[in-house]
């Protein structure tokens, strides 16, 4: 049995009806015509299937939308994403969410970063020349290697000796010249592990004992200065 309706109903009218466009006459006809009901159901399935096949297919990823918000896209890509966002309510919503999230919990604004002139001066010292033996070395017995490092106006002389109190261990004696010694902290690192620490005394001297032979890095730090000695073999 074919269509029972008095007038031919085209698919355009059925599609409009599926979208909720008011059509009382069509509604009445559909009630009495199984053929048209079947056509309506088929159109609904086709639309639904096609929508599932391509819905949001042209949308950038949320990550790309976030990069758009942060101004990290190339000019060409930025333009393309902006053009898409104008038409796409899903992406418009996502961009708004990202912006609100970034603004609500802003990373910046909590505290100012230190200005360039106020930053800690970080220096990496270079081996200068083997320096003179330290005055304290004679009190400790056998003198080991003496090394002098320089970084700008700071000079660090290091004396490595056998630790008399601990067989098999080493002592590191240091003399710092050219920096304000008060409160200068000394850290000795082995790889990523802090091995020992001390402070420089009023005469610029420091010592670290009981060190296992190996390669270390030395860091001297104060309020506005850091000096590092890398690849120090003890």
């Amino acid at each position: 049995m074919g269509c029972q309706c008095n007038e031919t109903i085209d698919d355009a009218r059925l599609l409009a009806y599926l979208d909720g466009e008011p059509d009382p006459a069509l509604q009445a006809q559909l009630t009495d015509c199984p053929e048209c009901q079947a056509r309506l159901a088929q159109l609904a399935r086709e639309q639904d299937s096609l929508t599932k096949g391509v819905r949001w297919a042209a949308c950038p990823t949320v990550l790309e939308l976030g990069e758009y918000v942060l101004g990290l896209l190339s000019p060409e890509r930025r333009q393309a994403v902006a053009a898409h966002i104008v038409d796409c309510h899903r992406c418009t919503d996502a961009v708004a969410q990202i912006r609100a999230f970034l603004n609500a919990d802003a990373v910046e604004g909590v505290a100012p970063a230190v200005g360039v002139v106020e930053r800690v001066r970080v220096l990496v010292a270079e081996l200068f020349t083997p320096g003179p033996t330290l005055s304290l070395a004679g009190l400790r017995g056998t003198v080991g290697d003496t090394l002098t490092y320089k970084a700008d106006d700071v000079q660090i002389s290091l004396d490595i000796a056998a630790d008399p109190g601990q067989p098999g261990k080493r002592s590191l004696l240091g003399l710092v010249i050219g920096a304000d010694q008060s409160g200068l902290e000394v850290e000795l690192w082995r790889g990523d592990t802090l091995a020992a620490m001390t402070t420089v005394d009023d005469t610029g001297n420091f010592s670290l004992d009981g060190l296992t032979p190996g390669r270390y890095s030395l860091a001297l730090s104060a309020m506005n200065l850091e000096v590092h000695v890398e690849a120090l073999d003890v």
Partner: protein, 232 residues
């Protein structure tokens, strides 16, 4: 030639320690030096140093957790914060290649990117939950977890849709058909909405429906479309 960045010569442990110290100052709203933390990021992203990456994760995990738990959508997603913390860091690590790292001038920009990654992970989870609920509606089930739609399946489905849409466009005749397909099916606009947005293309909403009818009729006869789409 002397290295312009003296921090690049420091051992990782020292960098990490100073980063932690300066971060404490930051959170106490004191002046802070961001170079150590930036150096940690540089080693992780520009040099792909996995140890530096582990230190970044440990250092900033509490920050990311705070962002997640304060996100307005978090409670409704039904997943632990730890899950999203891991996803956020993964997303940043994958997205920021050594080349891309050059675009970041300071720590603030890096942390803002990490924050954006965190937000994007939450949005994606909310979308997956929405899709899961749509599927459940079709199948008369109740699904309340974003991973009811598998993440990998979702990515694959997104790629398939993009490819199908690119192919489908080759089947369209003119600007009107492209506008209808893009507006109604890709962007999920109602025809009346599309007509209002493209008044120069469509005089009335009836024109939109006429074009839609013609396109569907032609695609219905296309064996490749029928093969791809269910129910055709």
């Amino acid at each position: 030639m002397a290295d312009r960045n003296p921090l690049s010569q420091l051992n990782l442990g020292r960098i990490s320690q100073r980063c932690a110290e300066e971060s404490q100052r930051f959170f106490k709203r004191q002046e802070y030096d961001d170079r150590y933390c930036f150096e940690l990021f540089r080693r992780a992203f520009a040099q792909r140093d996995s140890r530096a990456w582990d230190l970044i994760f440990a250092q900033y995990q509490p920050l990311v957790q705070g962002w997640i738990t304060r996100h307005p959508s978090f409670q409704s997603l039904g997943e632990d914060a730890e899950y999203y913390i891991n996803r956020a860091f993964e997303r940043m690590f994958t997205a920021v290649t050594p080349d891309k790292f050059k675009a970041f001038a300071d720590l603030r920009q890096l942390l803002r990117y990490l924050q954006m990654c965190t937000g994007s992970v939450i949005i994606d989870a909310a979308r997956r939950l929405d899709q899961a609920e749509r599927i459940a509606l079709d199948e008369s089930e109740h699904i309340s977890h974003p991973d009811a739609v598998d993440v990998e399946d979702q990515v694959l489905a997104d790629h398939q849709r993009a490819r199908f849409w690119a192919w489908l466009q080759t089947r369209l005749k003119d600007d009107q058909e492209r506008a209808v397909m893009y507006g109604c099916f890709v962007l999920d606009m109602k025809p009346r909405e599309l007509c209002n947005a493209h008044k120069q293309t469509f005089a009335t909403v009836a024109d939109v429906y006429r074009v839609k009818q013609n396109v569907l009729e032609r695609l219905r006869r296309d064996p490749e479309v029928r093969q791809y789409l269910e129910g055709w």
